[in-house]
């Protein structure tokens, strides 16, 4: 396939990208809404929320393709799922931002809502790209919006540091990725993932192309904040508004996993689940295990609630990667999707709760969060729910997600190198879960147990509390995972 064929999408095929096209239009509208007569940041926020809601509905109804025709963007059932996920995340993020006592009245809050939609659009495109160039463009779109969202508190030095770190890391990751892509193109003569796969299958330079492919993978590692591409996480999560952190830690991950799954399936079409002897699944399993352990250990020594959540996001991404070590079965993808959904609600709940608590404590440092239960008992209770769920302790949704995921990891079999990897990875996940639980527990100890020194009066105001309540109810409801996992499996099958 040559570059020209990217532009050969027919109008009929364009309808496949309806949610993305709608979201692009909505994005432009939100951008100008603030400057229209009678408009303001509230108008643009409300409009952004409306756009996100419409996108959610469109994502459910839009059709998907199961036939690969070589186009640059080919949305399939997995893309559909990412669209739903990204719109849901945007709704939660914008709603929480609108209700946040600290953020809703800031001058930049209208732009914040717009940037959230930008990240969602980038995520959706990334999840449907089947061409190296399209992947890169989607990645850049996703990243540029994320940089804006991360450095959102423009004048604050911490935020500026976060934004800058993010941009530098992102730029380097993209550059390495692009470098890898140029080699892949040079060796296989194609940018289309499926054509690359065909070339490799016909006895192409399989060994030689592996290194460039790994370089392309750096972009995924960066988006998933896997070790060693995770160093931007803690600073960004600490520097940006908590609600944005909740968004940035979830939606780009879903997109990156969808992109990764597409890439693996298209480049290695002949591989079957539980294939023995292929080294990539083993690599994915071990790599995920290493990320899990490093993230969990690092989370244990942090003194700031948001940094703990940042390192835990690295650990969780590693855990999710491990499930691909049994290669890409429908069940494995459904388990991954369920884990991501639970992670969305738990992470949003945790960050919204922190947003509310920080309104009075002024900081997310553990020692300053002490005594939060006196000021906002319900918020602390919701935070406890979110953290217990993240720690994977029953009977909350986090446990069900961990259970479903582990089941798929261990299904890989009980013999051979792959079975050994699945065992090692499961042990790594479970041992890390103790370290992670200990880290979350320290947040809980500060907020729910410690007396604290300040005698701030109890805080009032619902604000974004209802978004928090929705997330908490979801964590309780999703505890009974099986119907949801079964539904995901059925819908992903098409």
């Amino acid at each position: 396939m040559d570059l020209a064929s990217i532009s050969t999408l027919m109008p009929r095929e364009l309808s496949l990208l309806l949610p993305e096209i709608f979201l692009s239009g909505g994005l432009l509208l939100v951008m100008v809404a603030e400057f229209l007569p009678g408009g303001g940041r509230r108008t643009s926020q409300a409009m952004a929320l409306l756009v996100a809601l419409c996108t959610l509905v469109l994502s459910f109804t839009a059709s998907a393709t199961s036939v690969r025709q070589g186009y640059a963007f080919e949305p399939d059932m997995l893309t559909r799922w990412v669209r739903v996920y990204a719109s849901l995340g945007s709704i939660l993020a914008i709603a929480a931002m609108m209700g946040s006592a600290r953020w809703k009245n800031r001058a930049e809050s209208g732009e914040g809502a717009m940037l959230v939609l930008g990240v969602a659009l980038g995520a959706m495109l990334f999840a449907s790209a089947t061409n190296l160039l399209a992947l890169l463009l989607a990645l850049e779109f996703l990243s540029l919006s994320s940089y804006g969202l991360a450095g959102f508190r423009g004048k604050d030095s911490q935020a500026a540091e976060a934004g800058l770190k993010y941009v530098l890391y992102g730029g380097i990751a993209s550059a390495i990725s692009l470098f890898g892509m140029s080699h892949v193109f040079g060796m296989t003569g194609s940018l289309s993932l499926s054509e690359i796969g065909q070339t490799l299958a016909m006895g192409g330079p399989e060994k030689a192309v592996l290194v460039p492919l790994l370089l392309v993978g750096v972009a995924f590692g960066y988006k998933l904040s896997l070790v060693p591409f995770h160093f931007w996480g803690p600073d960004v999560y600490q520097g940006c508004p908590p609600v944005a952190a909740g968004f940035l830690s979830t939606v780009p991950k879903a997109a990156a996993f969808a992109g990764l799954i597409h890439a693996l399936l298209l480049v290695f079409p002949s591989w079957t689940p539980l294939a023995q002897g292929s080294s990539l699944p083993i690599f994915l399993g071990l790599y995920g295990a290493v990320s899990t352990v490093v993230g969990a250990v690092a989370a244990g020594v942090q003194k700031d609630a948001r940094r703990i959540l940042a390192f835990s996001s690295t650990a969780n991404a590693g855990t999710m990667l491990v499930v691909l070590s049994s290669w890409i079965t429908l069940e494995a993808v459904a388990a991954l999707a369920f884990f991501l959904i639970v992670y969305l609600f738990a992470n949003f709940a945790a960050f919204i709760a922190l947003d509310r608590l920080e309104t009075t404590s002024g900081s997310s440092r553990l020692d300053e969060l002490a005594g939060s239960w006196k000021r906002r008992p319900w918020t602390v209770m919701a935070l406890a729910l979110a953290l217990v769920s993240l720690a994977g302790i029953p009977p909350l949704a986090g446990f069900s997600a961990k259970w479903v995921l582990l089941r798929e990891v261990l299904r890989a079999g009980t013999d051979g190198a792959l079975g050994m990897v699945s065992l090692v990875a499961s042990i790594a996940i479970l041992v890390s879960s103790v370290s992670l639980a200990w880290a979350y527990l320290r947040i809980l100890r500060a907020t729910a147990v410690d007396e604290g020194v300040t005698s701030t009066p109890p805080a009032s105001g619902i604000g974004n509390g209802w978004v928090l309540a929705v997330c908490s109810l979801a964590l309780l409801g999703l505890a009974w995972a099986f119907p949801v996992v079964e539904f995901l499996r059925a819908t992903l099958a098409g």
Binding site: V388, I393, P394, P395, F399, W403, L406, R407, L410, R411, T414, D415, G419, M420, L423, S426, I427, L430, V431, S433, V434, A437, W438, L441, R445, A448, V449, D450, F482
Partner: protein, 563 residues
Amino acid sequence: MDAIILSVFFAVPLLGAALLGLLPNRDSLLRKVSIVLSLPILGVALALLALAVTRQDAGFLLRERIPLVPSLGIAWHVGIDGLSAALLALSGLIQFAAAMVSAPQGRSKLYHILVQLLFLGVHGTFLLLDAVFFYVFWEVMLVPMFFLIAIWGGAERKAAAVKFFVYTMGGSVPLLLAFFLLHFSVPSQGLMVMVRPAEVREQMAIGSQGEVMLYDLPVLRVDAEGNPTPFAAARMGDASLPDLYVPLARSFDLLHWKLLAPWWSQATVFGMALMPLAFWMMFVAFAVKIPAFPLHAWLPHAHVQAPTAISVVLAGILLKLGVYGLLRVVWPLFPGQVIDSATLLAALGAVAIVWGGFAALGQSDLKRLVAYSSISHMGFCTLGLAAANTQGLSGAAFQCVSHGLSASLLFLLVGALYERAHHRRVDGFGGITQIMPRFGAIFLFAAMLGAGLPGLAGFVGELSVLLGGWANPATQWAAFASASGVVLSAGYLLWTVQRVLYGPVRHEEHRSFKDLSSAELFATVPMVALSLLLGLWPSVLQNALGPVSASLSAHLGWVVGLR
């Protein structure tokens, strides 16, 4: 129907927690409601225990299996037999006593709600026969207990709570992994496994076609053509039965896993034998809870820091869950490993008994002393389990109940003393019995109970364990060494009694202490009466525990005989 009756044990704590949440925040009211909430549990559990005592067989009194996710082999499988009925009755009594003496300093609504959630976990663990739900309820206890110690405990409460949490969660990690290994080591097409005829007799139900059912599985025999056919219930009375089989699929059912015991001993994972791997992974989870040597380090710290009522719950019932887990989950699954490791397991028990006893001798803090004596007394449970014969197993179960009574009594009394004196130093008291005669009498009784005085409940369990241990050649020397534990416990408890209760009144300000209040008497006197009853008439409890233990012991012998 059975599941509906047993749902009392889930509904009362859940609805109780909701009710407590709605009530006005008044300490006395919340406490009264908590006391009332313990009564239905105690009542239903005692009724079931009475049923078990009169029936005197190893069968389940109530059991129901409701498949929830058949494709994954997950079912809501609840059941109660003599062992779980006895421990649930103990749990009800402990909950009642703990509610009587609960005195949270502030945030009392949260305190009472957390206690209800804690007992929800306890009840679920005793009742569930499905590994997934068993694990869920096992872990449900973790978070409430953490907060109960961390918020309402002593000066070092937060460190103690974290230690408790990390130990217990670390212990349960291999448990979950082992459950998965067991699940996946069964071939996906299922297995036919031979069953023990006596077990079929004990537990059988009759299906709609008049065929024999065992744990909701059809019992099959091989007919003349070599095909498996259902076995008619009418033929169960025959003098000689043919070899009987059940078809088993991948599941998480603990009773089905018990039937798979012959399979586990030959299955392999990753080229290694499954049995030792899974056995030790699961053993660690439960041994942390008991706590068996060398996984006991969290206990003294947690006990000293926990508030009185929570110490009572911890010693009275939570430690028993470890023994229960071994009896219900680990021992039935891996008889071969139990027999192979008997010497090592018995050594763990003996070390805990002797070392815990010496450690208790050296303590200057009363609560620490009782905590170490708990480690020592729970060592008898480990020893009884290691012996794996009827006497050893029933002794371990009996010891659970008697230690539940003695340790709870001691913690209640130490707590009462601390409330008056605001310290717990053994050498900081003297002549207390002159000031508080009722306290003195009950304290002396509790010490005698702990020391295993004949005629009291503590004697029965320990003697049974020692006899069982002596009868098994592999554990004989450990039983011999452990007998010294009885002397040690007499030593440290009587020495404590002497220093605290007798002699001249060393501190004049102690003369103002009031004797035990009516609430404290309500909490302690039932335990005193029960210990006396069980000591003088052990068969009241033994008739419930004995058949279950005998059946388990027979199962162990049968499975090992198949090797």
